[in-house]
Subunit: 290 residues, 2 copies
């Protein structure tokens, strides 16, 4: 599996990728999934891949092969849109070559890519390229894209990340998102490739490969968990009450919506009707947050 996340922000772009690859749990290795196309002062593109490793490597190999002499080359793309088309074309070329053979083996053509960067003075752009070779772009309203094991780490990004988020704050957010994913899915693993691109730099200005020894990552992982548990402890527990109207009565006195759906033994409820149960105390929540 894989988890890659990237954001296109007012100040630039942030890319984060894990580096675990596995074929079953008994075949696990490390494979870096973030690659950079850099022509300093002219273009900086970053490509992250997830899915079938042979497919994604074949796509990257094809893109690497297509040098500046090739009209289909990423090096000749005049815009990020064209660059995304180059990647999509490479995906389709690999599908044309390998798709049928994979199908015969019952293997899906499973690959997903994120391409982002800047060419010349045009704005930064970020795309997710699908296995069909088509793609979607991130936008100021939805400034980030994820591929691979995206769900565990999505809530924190949804709560924090916006187009105006500063680059290093976005990097912090992605590392926390990655931490949640690392904890929940064994097939996502260290080291992490973190690329922070400052708009208009047109070269790699900030890059780190983070492993167990990285003190910032270690701090994030310890602190976030600890503080999360503190916040959790500070939020009041639910308070329960026996509704006035219900005191002493049988539960059916409560409106149906305050009753659990009961499956009774046979056509008629057996024995005495269910006794009164407690319900959440209304107002409790409101009082407690003041």
């Amino acid at each position: 599996m894989t988890y890659c996340v990237a954001a296109c922000l007012d100040a630039g772009m942030v890319f984060l990728a894990d580096s675990r690859t596995n074929a079953g749990v008994d075949q696990v290795s490390t494979c870096r999934k973030l690659r950079v196309f850099e022509r300093p002062g002219e273009r900086l593109l970053a490509l992250m891949t997830s899915g079938n490793l042979a497919i994604s490597q074949a796509i990257v190999a094809l893109l690497a092969q297509r040098g500046p002499d090739d009209p289909q080359s990423i090096w000749n793309a005049a815009t990020m849109q064209e660059a995304a088309q180059c990647v999509g074309d490479a995906v389709r070329a690999v599908h044309a070559r390998d798709g049928q053979a994979l199908k015969e083996q019952g293997i899906d053509f499973n690959v997903s890519l994120i391409l982002g960067g800047q060419i010349g003075r045009a704005p930064c752009q970020l795309f997710q390229v699908y296995a069909a070779g088509n793609f979607i772009a991130a936008s100021p309203e939805s400034p980030y894209l994820q591929i691979g094991e995206a769900k565990y780490g999505k809530p924190i990004v949804d709560r924090v990340l916006q187009a105006h988020t500063p680059l290093d704050e976005a990097a912090k957010c992605m590392l926390i998102s990655m931490d949640s994913t690392l904890r929940s899915n064994l097939s996502v693993g260290l080291p992490l490739d973190l690329l922070v691109y400052e708009r208009d730099a047109l070269r790699v200005t900030r890059f780190a490969c983070l492993d167990e020894d990285n003190q910032y990552l270690d701090m994030i992982r310890r602190t976030w968990g600890e503080r999360l548990r503190q916040v959790f402890a500070e939020i009041p527990n639910p308070q329960w009450t026996t509704p006035e109207a219900q005191a002493g009565d049988a539960a059916p006195a409560l409106p149906r919506r305050h009753q659990p759906v009961r499956i009774t033994a046979g056509p008629e409820p057996q024995g005495q009707p269910p006794a009164a149960h407690q319900v959440l105390a209304q107002g409790a929540g409101r009082r407690q947050v003041q």
Copy 2:
């Protein structure tokens, strides 16, 4: 879709289920997914369902049909293990009846259930029943089970919930887990059925159906998001530095692991070698958390 989560704790059990059901985004409705089998003083079982609604309703209908006269009835199960077998048998009976017809329509036999409760003075037990009718049990080491859209809400449960967690704290944890899921998946929706079962009560003692008007749920949803953003803001951003060894040099002076994987234009890197880039400041993290 669905999100249901339940925990078997030292103090009893907690069950939480959403109530949205949908067939595509244009056919959305509300359907309660938590059902209670209660014979006060003798047994209390709770069943939660996810997957194909017709399949789960057929299973529940069969379980409801099998009254105390039926040896296969949940009402006659002497242990929770036997009760889980009753549910598994019902799953297999529905598969025997509908499986082939579904297959002919290209529809998977997709259903997953959580059964928990207590019979007599035996310990509480919690099971997840699969579409094959077999099941797994929760344990003190892994006290909770999820069905449906489990991933968004899993990290907080993993960080907080343990067998010794008090019931109302576990309920709070599950509501936060549900909140993350509600925000990330439109096919999970209110109202929520929350059942808190105190060990040895052998009846429903605490139950609530939480909707938009519930002040505790509203407090949880607002407070958790706000506090999360506060904690996030308090964690220091990464700090970057130009490595001594690298100052003025070209980037290749850095060990390869501190370099992004570069795809060069053609066999030889074009133009000047990549300029030095900044790396994460080691020690920064450690200093900042002191």
